[in-house]
Point group: C2
Chain length 205, copies 2
Amino acid sequence: MVVVSPKRNRLAERREATRLEILDAAWEVARQDSLAGLTLRQVADRVGMQPPSLYSHFASKNAIYDAMFEQAWRNLLEQVPSWIEQLPNPPRARLIKVAELYFDFAVADLARHQLMNVNIIPNFEPSPQAYAASLEAYSMMRTYLPLSDQDDIDIYTALVSGLGAQQLANDPGGQRWRRLIPRVMTMFADDLGLPRNEPSPPESS
Amino acid sequence: MVVVSPKRNRLAERREATRLEILDAAWEVARQDSLAGLTLRQVADRVGMQPPSLYSHFASKNAIYDAMFEQAWRNLLEQVPSWIEQLPNPPRARLIKVAELYFDFAVADLARHQLMNVNIIPNFEPSPQAYAASLEAYSMMRTYLPLSDQDDIDIYTALVSGLGAQQLANDPGGQRWRRLIPRVMTMFADDLGLPRNEPSPPESS
DNA sequence: GTCTATACACCGATAGAC
DNA sequence: GTCTATCGGTGTATAGAC
């Protein structure tokens, strides 16, 4: 068993805590102002530091965006276990539930959604490590969907992200597209030829 | 009949031509670099002016974005007449054709698509006049679609824009989502209960 | 190691000469 | 209408105190 020296541990923990503090501040700024319009001064003000001090924790502004990008996808990954408990077994109900869960996640935070799904920050490309988080989340979602064919997956992502994008753009905070999810997923399930009635469970009432 | 003085007319035409020159340059910069990363110096360089001179034609950088926003939607409006000629009569075929035409329009220009559909520029809101152009295009599209219910329209826009957004984000220049349009539109047509076989035209072969 | 202080190049925008 | 000069603000980077 490996024992890490206490002092180095405390330092590393402090450093990591500061990093997270900066990222939290960056998210607040991005949400209140805008993601692309975020400035290091705003972030520094919010954590009570001078702007150049941020460079002790992040190599550049894009490095902050990169960490935020990875955080956003890891947030999604962390949500998945709690989602799985809610997932019904019948494929049709499952398609709807996953769509609603992901929709709600996407719509809950415009800045996060834009960072994850829209390329809006000039000269920002996620690092391989950050991009890996998005791939991990993508394949995790895939695991719990009754979809095998790549075309089916592509259609599903287009449907869900399309509904979410319209909701964010034309009725933020509303339900105009959100309430269409069951209907859209049902018509997709019909196209897939999924059985219309869930198999009755073997347990009695 | 009102006759405008020739001199004033020539001046106005010259002014308008310069305005269009600036906007063309702005579009080129937005396409080559990025929409949000556009700078007035880049635009000014391309039209051979000093940056402050742009303020003789536009009140601010956002005013340039606003004019571009209106141009983009007017571009779409101008395309519609040529689209109408291509539109088949059967509702199902029509759903597909309009989707493909709009999809191709959206995917053809990322910067234009982002300006029209994604709110990525900090502190930019389209002016009422520019927004009116988008409403005009929206209702024009509606006229040529076999859709009456608002929910149906909302689903249609979500489907088409969702497919386009995925294409731009994950396979720019490719066909991965574009070739799914007929299938998605067919499943939507099934959901709408549109007749499966077009009524045979009254003309003989 | 982390901070403050400061310099640099660039941005949008304004004032005023011509 | 276009220019030069200039302003405040921004991202980046370095120097140096502690």
